[in-house]
């Protein structure tokens, strides 16, 4: 296990150090809250960020596993294509936007614009989520254990939003449908895998009202 103290380092130094030490090791990064773009674009490895992280954590991640022990800054897991990001605390504005794949688990709450233009990732928020979550989602799923703000799943195209609590308002092109047994078992296995205590039977499912939303 290797530890990198990022206090005196810049983005290039930290990511270079991570790349050098990641082969076969778990890398621990400390004091990285001022660095934006830690572990960007990495394909393999296992990284633990101790404390808070800066913005753009794990952007373009393509297979790497990242865990943050406290809160993540803005735009965590932005444009992730594969891999996992686990945030033990809260996520900042716009977490998990533009993702093509992978899994993002936020054990705390998430702010506005989480999962915008999600194209295939699984995003789990154990707490509450802000406004405009899953805006223009094209595929994948957003699972919210708590409550959601305004305009949930605005202009949804494909994929599904599962929500355990209430929403303030639903966005355009959304349709509220009953949960199926498959949905419940899928959620149950995800909750078990990531150690989240929630009852899938009380969840609601939102899908796109029209599969081809043409705008004028």
């Amino acid at each position: 296990m290797k530890t990198i103290n990022a206090k005196e380092l810049n983005l290039r130094d930290v990511n270079t150090a991570i790349k050098q030490q990641i082969n076969g090791h778990r890398v621990i990064v400390t004091d990285a809250e001022h660095i934006h773009g830690v572990a960007a674009g990495l394909k393999v490895g296992d990284i633990l960020i101790q404390g808070d992280s800066g913005d753009y954590l794990g952007m373009l991640a393509d297979g790497v596993t990242i865990e943050v022990t406290r809160n993540a800054g803005k735009y965590a897991a932005d444009n992730m294509t594969r891999g996992q990001l686990l945030i033990q605390g809260n996520a900042g504005f716009g977490a998990a936007q533009y993702c093509y794949g992978g899994t993002v688990v936020i054990y705390g709450g998430a702010e506005d614009f989480t999962g915008t233009m999600n194209k295939g990732a699984t995003i789990i928020v154990a707490g509450d989520i802000g406004d405009e979550a899953a805006t223009y989602m094209l595929d994948g799923q957003l699972i919210v254990v708590g409550n959601a703000g305004f305009n949930l799943a605005n202009y949804l195209i494909r994929g599904a939003v599962y929500i355990g609590g209430e929403w303030k308002s639903l966005g355009h092109n959304t349709h509220h449908v009953p949960m199926t047994n498959d949905d419940e078992s899928q959620l149950r296995s995800l909750f078990e895998r990531y150690g989240i205590e929630a009852d899938p039977s009380r969840f609601k499912k939102i899908i796109a009202a029209s599969k081809k939303p043409f705008y004028n």
């Binding site: 373009l60 932005d78 444009n79 716009g94 614009f113 233009m117 405009e132 305009n151 081809k212």
Partner: protein, 540 residues
Amino acid sequence: MSAIGTFCVSVNRQACLNSQMPGKCGTCAEVCPHGVYAFDSQSGQVHIQNYNTCVGCRICAEFCPTDAIRINPAESEYISRYPWTFGVIEEIHHKAQTGSYLLRGFGTQGPTPNFDMITVVPSQIASQPPRDKYREECDMELVIGEDTCEKPMRLKLPFVWPAMSFGALSKEAKMALAIGAAMTGIATNTGEGGMLPEEAYLSRGYEDDSFSFQRWQPGGYLVVQWSTGRWGVSADYVRGGDAVEVKIGQGAKPGMGGHLLGAKVGEEVARVRGIPVGSDALSPCRYYDVQTLDDMKHQVAMLRDVTDYQVPILFKLGPSRPYADVAACIEAGADAISIDGLVGGTGCSPDLVTQGVGIPTIACIPQAVQALKDYGVHRKVKLIALGGIRNGLDAFKALAMGADAVGFGSAAEVAMGCRVCYACHKGNCPYGITSHRPELRARLDPVETGQKLANFIHANAEEVKILTMLSGHNRIADLSTEDLRAMDFNTAALTGLKLAGYDRPLPFWDQWPQSSAGDGSGNGHGQVPNRPVTSEHHRG
């Protein structure tokens, strides 16, 4: 569309094959993008259904096997009926019937301020003597990112193909652009629709993905676009280019994201973009993951890190406040900045945005150059002028005004065979350039068309070389506004160029610029916004 109602279609019935033998030919009805002709399947006869929808592209005349069609401009009627032209009336009828606005492709119609009223100043006895185009050398190479990257982009000529996405263009057209770039040593651009596997090797001059045989010399470069829709973007995509271009906006529709109508989203486009077949792909107008200029700086730093500090980062703007927009790009860490003026092209856009939004290219360049000079980076951070550049003469004028390179977007489509019918968005391009229908795409041979594009670039290079050398220079970078004069008041007022005859800039240009960049005071040019966009903003 202002072109509507300004052309008369006439068919010589004695020459027309269909008139002689009904049912034998209906080519004009098949190729017309605007339904001017109709084929009656019962009688087999073709008749002119609605000649007023003609936009004067003359595709029918080109395809007619017996040369029976003539398209005559009817400008005098257009002028006498202005402002209630047929086009305006048709637009109002369309809105009244459908409740929707007009969409169209290609670019701006009608006169806008352009390079035409600028003249080139040759060398005579009072300046350094002209150089001999036929027997002397002229340095036209352009290096982007020389001081900042480990693998700078070394363009053989100061030209680029601007971003045109796979989706807007057909696969064959994208391949032809890549081959044209490889043959001339310039850069092609993926656009925002993801990267075609073919682009990666063709643009570098290789004939297949084994990268074993370089068929086209000297080999070009591939710019990958990082845009607001992030279609088909991954770490591998970003690392697959010789440069990354951050798209802020485009000249044809600044302030809006890319439009790709469902009619053009077939299986291959859907796969490359990662979206459902047949759904409209409307890119967001802004980056959801950039709220402030600081965020953009961090994103650029991240892109440099992901590409291992090897390749340049470019920005593309449809500048609205050219000085401040370019200043913001410099602050964000750009190695080159493309400014795409009002006349810039598009595969699909609301008519009123293409027509009525943006700053003319000639008015963008001087402000952009001033921003670069104020930051002390003119000729270091390269300026690429786009938007309505049609030939070597336009290119030279843009270069002399202070740009380091120019892009031929619409002109490249025309070089591929386009006749400007403004129907790129419909997906029925008779030349296979903006269509995904296999039978139309088969008309475009990528290698043959790549050669045409290369010819076009070489001809423009020669034109730029002639003008550079007759004005006494042997390096593109030595050109200056002293090599140009404005020929009318408007152009002198918009550009700050010396007015021919008066031989100095118009007096009010002495007042500009008033303040240096970055201090956020004075004339407002130096202000760089750093305001977050919130969910309240989103909901209005």
